[in-house]
């Protein structure tokens, strides 16, 4: 691993050295197309819907095509694009530079691909919205920020784009700002993210202080040279950086913003909560994975934590988040909220996999990254499918008020079914393979978490089958569900386009490709990709299959043919707790709000009386008083002036001639 990282870094430095315009500089175009389109819309197409759509979809699709070119040309090569000086401060020297490798090019394809389809879907979904052009503009801005995170070659630039994602997600979640709930949701998302970002920034400062550079290649090089370079702050820096991921990827205890963020338009949910923003945290962990391969070390004051590794903490937080969210999802009735908690749960999975990956004999986080890619496809598909359902049912979101949509919306049903099968880990579908990679990692690294992962997979299957059975089977339970009909082409075809990778992406050797990125000596386990899991680690694969079958049969046993949820009666208190998200919002409100109010009251008192009263008003008062008093000297009487003049001469004479 170390030798490999050193090799990487050397190559990175070489690539920066011999600059000049090259094909890899296309990455700049990939990054800036969406921004240019957003600005173009702002300047020229604030009213013209056709132009706005053309601009923004064109820009993102171009980015996608260029990403594809970069992927085809460079594959997994590590390349740095020509950087330019940004902040040439002594000791910091942050450049604006882009980095391309297997990880980033795959992520580029995911982000631009999903974004393109979401935008096309939105042309139909947002048809009647007065903020149509603004919507597309904000989406482009969001894509630009996200691409910046993906491509950044240093932590300062990464952080800037990290914050930009925060801002643009704020704009998107609060897109219908006239709704108070949307306003609250976007504030909540932004503030929660800020908490994580603060830790992230401290982490960046620690890493910078230890390594003397913010360039990621440079950090890899420094750690390859000396794994103890981070000193006593190694674990602390890792966890602080992870705080950033905790915010963006909605990990416990900062997970509360994600379900509320469903207040945004559904395509936004599909983009933010499937492929991009929430994936940013996991992606960042993979990008900075080198920080989690170092031995555990704590400052003297935290010595009692002993050999606790940052990666171990991360894997447990991920596992706990996954469990919590899966439990909550079982008793939600809002179609988007079920998907939201499912996203939370899957993100927990990915974070857990990254943490577990650090515990492998050859540290490798590729299982988490693999699941990120497949999840991006099928979760975007599920969100867009949910959007189609909501659109067809006149903005009804309660699954118990739907039913029987299978015949009325056959395309939506079919694609939604593909997405569900992928998510629940049905063999042949993408999710099965990526989940299997996680199971295999867990089995090797931490058997307790492996058990937890299987249980969560079981629950995932259960709640997703519940969703499909209640929504699409049986008979229509309300009038709006009865009058539903298939959505228009602009919404239908993106669903189909996403169903293809949801099914087939795992048929490509993507898992091996990603694993090879992190481990140059990695070699495939051979055999057909489709049966790879059984060749690689049969136990893990069989447990995956078992979880899938158990979940499906349980869901059918409980929900087939029901028009009311039988679980609340059976589970009682537990069901209510699940439905109320284990009262996290209430607990936070009870703890955070009074503390915050008290702090605010103290700050207010200080500002009002000490800073404002003594400081500002005191100083201005003294100055004003002095001014008014001195003015009395200027009587205007010439006798006084002459007297003072002469007195001044005497004083000066005393001073000068003493």
């Amino acid at each position: 691993m170390d030798a490999h990282v050193a090799h990487t870094a050397v190559e990175a430095v070489k690539a920066v050295g011999d600059s000049g315009t090259k094909l890899q500089d296309l990455a700049w175009a990939v990054l800036f197309f969406p921004l240019v389109c957003a600005l173009g819309t702002l300047l020229f197409a604030r009213k013209d819907r056709m132009l706005a759509v053309g601009f923004n979809i064109g820009g993102v699709v171009l980015s996608f095509l260029l990403s594809f070119v970069l992927f085809a040309v460079y594959g997994g090569q590590r390349i740095d694009c020509t950087p330019f000086q940004w902040l040439p401060l002594e000791g910091l020297n942050a450049t604006m530079g882009l980095h391309l490798d297997g990880l980033t090019t795959v992520m580029l394809l995911v982000v631009t691909g999903v974004a393109s389809l979401v935008m096309i879907f939105s042309t139909g979904y947002m048809k009647d919205d007065p903020g149509y052009c603004r919507f597309f503009m904000t989406l482009s801005l969001f894509v630009f920020s996200m691409l910046g995170i993906v491509l950044a070659d240093n932590l300062v630039m990464l952080f800037v784009f990290w914050e930009l994602v925060g801002v643009s997600s704020y704009l998107l979640i609060g897109f219908w700002h006239e709704k108070p709930s949307a306003g609250d949701a976007c504030k909540k998302a932004f503030l929660t993210n800020r908490i994580g970002d603060f830790g992230f920034m401290l982490g960046i400062l620690l890493v910078w202080a230890a390594c003397g550079t913010v360039n990621i290649g440079g950090i890899e090089l420094a750690i390859a040279k000396d794994p103890h370079v981070l000193g006593a702050t190694a674990s602390l820096a890792g966890l602080l950086i992870f705080m950033g991921a905790m915010g963006k990827s909605a990990q416990f205890p900062l997970h509360i913003w994600l379900p509320d963020a469903m207040e945004g338009p559904t395509p936004v949910s599909a983009l933010i909560h499937a492929a991009t923003m929430v994936a940013a945290g996991v992606y960042m962990l993979c990008r900075l994975f080198v920080l989690y391969t170092v031995p555990a070390a704590w400052p003297a004051s935290l010595d009692f934590l002993g050999g606790l590794n940052a990666a171990t903490v991360i894997s447990w937080i991920g596992g706990f988040t996954a469990l919590l969210a899966a439990l909550i999802a079982i008793q939600q009735n809002d179609i988007k909220r079920i998907l939201a908690y499912s996203t939370l749960s899957q993100l927990g999975y990915m974070v857990m996999a990254v943490g577990l990956g650090a515990g492998l004999a050859t540290p490798n986080p590729s299982a988490g990254m693999y699941h990120l890619v497949t999840h991006a496809a099928f979760k975007a598909l599920l969100f867009l499918g949910a959007g189609a359902v909501i659109h067809a049912c006149h903005h009804e979101q309660d699954i118990w008020k739907m039913g029987g949509l299978r015949e009325k919306m056959p395309w939506t049903f079919a694609t939604f079914g593909v997405g569900t099968l992928a998510l629940v880990g049905c063999p042949l579908f993408a999710g099965f393979y990526s989940k299997d990679a996680i199971f295999a990692t867990a089995l090797e690294s931490n058997p307790v978490l492996f058990g937890l992962a299987v249980a969560i997979a079981c629950m995932t299957t259960f709640y997703m089958c519940r969703l499909v059975i209640v929504t699409f089977f049986g008979s229509a339970r309300t009038e709006s569900a009865d009058h539903a009909h298939e959505v228009a082409g602009s919404m239908k075809w993106p669903l189909v386009a996403l169903a293809v990778p949801s099914l087939m992406i795992a048929w490509l050797p993507l898992g091996d490709f990603l694993a090879g990125h992190f481990d140059a000596h990695y070699h495939s386990h051979g055999g057909d990709v489709l049966f790879g899991p059984f060749n690689h680690n049969a136990l893990a694969a069989f447990f995956g299959l078992f979880a899938f079958m158990l979940g499906v049969s349980a869901a059918f046993a409980v929900y087939w043919g029901r028009s009311k949820d039988p679980l609340p009666a059976k589970l009682g208190q537990l069901s209510r707790a699940m439905r109320n998200k284990f009262y996290f919002d209430e607990i936070y409100e009870a703890i955070v709000v009074p503390v915050h109010d008290a702090a605010a009251a103290v700050a207010d008192w200080l500002d009002r009386w000490v800073i404002g009263g003594l400081g500002v008003r005191g100083v201005t008062g003294v100055a004003d008083f002095a001014g008014r008093a001195l003015r009395l000297v200027q009587t205007g009487s010439i006798q006084t002036y002459t007297f003072l003049f002469a007195a001044g001469v005497v004083v000066v004479a005393l001073l000068a001639l003493k």
Binding site: A623, D624, G627, R628, I638, L644, F645, A656
Partner: protein
């Protein structure tokens, strides 16, 4: 003897006499044209004096008069000021019902006095040129004979100026009595003996009192607010630019030309004066409601800033003084040109009269804002860079005498206070409600040109200060600074 050195002065005096004579023959309506003519002829003199008229440095009249870098710098400064003040006067003519040509002529005579002051190398020539300036200003300040405040300003300037002159001439008598000469160079040659002579020191101190009056330094500043408020705007502008600069050039010549050794003993005195002058001017400006009176206090505070550079007693400090004066020149003249342009529509000088100027005349309001922002010392205006240079000189001096850090703090306090009172005016212009029933304000072409010249100066010198800075640095090359400050000064400062 080399009489050709004073060609510039002679031409300016001839121009003044010419204006007086021409007035006998021309019709009253064409008097503004006379101003135009005078201004353009002054422009020609300026252009010629830069090279053709007086190509060589040298001294004349037995060493009384010198022409060197410092003199050339200030002569250019004064001539340019004269041109702009005459243009300003043309703009101000509505408030000067009689004697417009005499106003031009007096301005030219005062200018001649300033030109002589820039070259003075003798206490006698210094006194004579200062009297030429002061006496003409007695008349200029009280020029609006029908207005009581103007008369009052003239009388106050007359009496206090008379007192200051009396002190100064008494001081010169003492100097002559103890040194047996009035020539700066000859005094400099024997300053080692003179430094211990209390009679000479008393005389020198009294001369400095007279110069302190010219630059409005504490405690000889009392006339400034009343005179600024009452005098006609062009006279005030010339007073605050020309007369102050004349005071400073003479101060530099006396302190660093004639008696650099004694000056280094008086550093604490200069520092205290600078500090109190800054604080006094800034604090008193805070409650002002009258704009011209505010400018009077601002001019006191600015004298304090300039004294910082003098107190630093270094080449950096003196060149910073020259640079600051150059920037101050454009800034103040821009402000007074706006006041003159307003004189035909707004009949008082209260700050509240400027309410809503932003809508009545965006150009004038913008020009005034830029001027005030520059005075407040905000980048990229020239005022910022001038203050920066002065403070840099203070910091440099602080390495030798830590007491300068106090001075630095005082200067910063003064700048902060100044932000308040300058922005108060800007607030009135843009956020104040215009009185009902007022119209847009027209700006005449000459005022527009004068303003654009000033604004270009303010912005250009702020963005590209290098040229003027090199010029200023070259100009102070002839001054002598006592190499090491006496240690006693440093301890005395604590």
């Amino acid at each position: 003897m080399n009489h050709s050195l004073i060609t510039t002065e002679i031409l300016v005096i001839l121009l003044g006499l010419g204006v007086l004579l021409a007035d006998l023959w021309i019709r009253p309506e064409s008097r503004p044209a006379l101003g135009w003519l005078a201004a353009s002829l002054l422009g020609c003199i300026l252009a010629l004096s830069l090279g053709a008229l007086t190509p060589h440095d040298g001294s004349a009249f037995g060493g009384m008069y010198v022409l060197d870098g410092l003199a050339r710098y200030f002569k250019g400064f004064f001539l340019l000021a004269g041109i702009l003040v005459i243009l300003m006067t043309v703009e101000f003519r509505h408030r000067l019902p009689v004697g417009l040509s005499e106003f031009f002529a007096l301005t030219l005579f005062a200018l001649a006095g300033m030109l002589f002051a820039a070259s003075a190398n003798d206490f006698i020539l210094m006194f004579v040129s200062l009297e030429l300036i002061t006496v003409t200003f007695f008349v200029l300040n009280s020029f609006q004979r029908a207005r009581l405040p103007s008369l009052e300003a003239g009388v106050k300037y007359l009496i206090l100026g008379g007192v200051a002159s009396a002190f100064m001439i008494f001081g010169i008598a003492l100097i002559f009595g103890s040194a047996n000469t009035t020539n700066f160079s000859l005094v400099a040659a024997q300053q080692a003996q003179l430094a211990a002579n209390p009679v000479f020191l008393t005389g020198l101190m009294l001369v400095l009192v007279g110069l302190g009056f010219k630059i409005a330094a504490f405690p000889f500043h009392l006339w400034a607010p009343d005179v600024y408020q009452g005098s006609p705007a062009p006279a005030t502008a010339f007073l605050s630019v020309g007369s102050k600069a004349a005071g400073f050039v003479l101060l530099l010549r006396v302190l660093f030309g004639a008696v650099p050794q004694i000056t280094s003993q008086w550093q604490v005195l200069l520092m205290v004066t600078a500090a109190i002058t800054i604080l006094y001017g800034s604090l008193c400006a805070l409650p002002q409601r009258n704009f011209k009176r505010l400018l009077g206090y601002s001019s006191i505070a600015n004298a304090g800033y300039l004294l910082l550079g003098v107190a630093a007693e270094s080449r950096t400090g003196s060149s910073a003084v020259l640079y600051y004066l150059g920037g101050y020149f454009f800034t103040v003249l821009a402000i007074f040109t706006v006041l003159c342009s307003l004189s035909s529509t707004i009949d008082n000088d209260e700050i509240s009269a400027l309410n809503g100027l932003g809508r009545r005349s965006p150009f004038l309001a913008a020009a005034l804002s830029i001027g005030l922002v520059s005075l407040a010392g905000i980048p990229p205006m020239v005022g910022f860079f001038g203050k920066f240079q002065l403070l840099a000189a203070v910091l440099e001096a602080a390495r030798l005498a830590p007491a300068f850090y106090v001075l630095l703090g005082v200067a910063v306090v003064g700048v902060v206070l100044s932000l308040y009172y300058y922005f108060n005016v800007i607030r009135a212009m843009y956020w104040g409600d215009a009185p009902a029933g007022v119209s847009l304000i027209e700006v005449s072409a000459p005022a527009r040109i004068a303003l654009l010249v000033c604004l270009a100066g303010v912005l250009y010198l702020g963005i590209a200060p290098g040229g003027l800075l090199r010029l200023a640095d070259g100009a102070v090359a002839g001054l002598k600074f006592s190499p090491a400050h006496a240690p006693s000064v440093v301890t005395a400062a604590h």
